[in-house]
Amino acid sequence: MSTLVIKDLHVEVGEKEILKGIDLTINTGEVHAIMGPNGNGKSTLLSAIMGHPKYQVTQGSIELDGEDVLSMSVDERSRAGLFLGMQYPQEIPGVTNSDFLKAAMNARLEKPISLFKFIRTLDKNIEELNMDENLAHRYLNEGFSGGEKKRNEILQMKLLQPKMALLDEIDSGLDVDALRVVSDAINSMRSNDFACVMVSHYERLFELVKPTHVHVLVSGQIVMSGGYELVEKIDREGYEWIKELGFELNQEEERKPIILENCGKKETVRHE
């Protein structure tokens, strides 16, 4: 069994403090869901665990089985068993998926994988995830649709077999069928040697991949933890009730461009 222990984690981006003391313990065998309104630090938490250079840890600790994660480089964290399925996977022209995946698999093997075994493993997973057969020869995420990129993240997770997978809005951009394929893939990884932390806004993902633990992250702190009933409550009531508990919400509304269509609709509504 492996354990990831996060204690009093404070993280800054630029000069701004985003995480203000996070405590979280994740054991293999568990599936954690982190929910919360936009702009409250969910993605920051996952990126800080993975070691994105933009996020500065100013206080606190992260340990994986007693090893200090914060002193590890990004690639060392990966090889130690952490995996981040990203919200916006990078497109890298010129680098083929197969070259990249082989390099990533070999990075954690003492002896490089044989070409035959690699192709067999890759083809099997591509089929299971219902992905493009030509994927291996295409450039990494270049020209991929949103859904293809997310499936490619899951493909990598399956090939790399991490101990702890952090999945940042892995369901965004997926249609109903793709969501089922992806959640089946996550469920197939569930075991006593695997833990998963999922960030999502939608109950649908958590319905398909039932979390064992649910946390609500608001203003850089975990304000409540519980079981699946929290997912249902948020789906029903939103986050307004958090305020009643005395917590302030960091409401970062997404600014949408005003287009003629919107104005037109508003006008119609008013006349009615």
Binding site: D75, T96, A107
Partner: protein, 301 residues
Amino acid sequence: MSNYAFNSSFYCVIHNGKCQESHLPDHIYFQDGVLICENKEPIEIQLIYLLDKNQSMNIDIYVKKNVEVNMIETKQLEGGACLHKTMYLENHAIVHVFSENNCHNLENVEVQEDVYLYDNALCQCGYAELSDGSYKGIYHYYLDGEGADAKVRMAILSKEKERKHYEVLIQHNRPHTYGQMDNYGVVKDAGRLTIDGIGTITKGQHGSASHQTNKIMVFDSECLASANPYLYIDEYDVKASHAAGVGKMDEEHLYYLQSRGLTKKQAMQLITYGYLKPVIEVIDNEMLKAHFEDVLSKVGA
């Protein structure tokens, strides 16, 4: 000097203007600095240019009507050498060239290429410019027939104290012609690199399109790089685009690869290879691909 390798079953080695050894198929001839291609079926040949110190030579290549040929070129020129190649593509000729610059020179080497394309001729050229030493390359393409189509792709490495300068011109002299160039470079150590990409559409050449991308990735603080796009357009009904950029490797790309367990060095290498590798795609030759991967290790990263 002669550390070239044959990647093709048909070849011609030209040393200081003279044929040193050759094995050419029927309907392809070399004599007095002139190569003529009249082959009926598509064929692949390798041309190896050798020049001793301070020597110069002219090579003329004629690709006849409807002829289809793949060329693998290897340039091995010593210091102070100067090569001038002229190639004519007659109507409907199709030529793919992979040109490997394999020079190891102390003094500057200069190469000028002039390629003339007539009606509906098509030329795709990939230049692997990973030579050791300073270099000046002037590669000019003239679209002199309607429907002519030229695509040029470059992969350049300038390292140590090398100074490299490339001028790539595609000039549209007839209507409905298509030109595209993608010039990619990597500069390391105290290397210098200038890329001038020039797209010219002369008056009256309506329905033509001229596109270019010039990108240079710099690794070290002493690198000097400039990517200059030029578009000279003297006609209204045309399409044209240009892009140019000089910069460091994308940090987000590095982070993404590292987050999958690749060390920073491995990640940089994969990105750099990916940046330069598409140049090989002009010709489908496995042996050549393997050879090019070997040569790429020079990039290090």
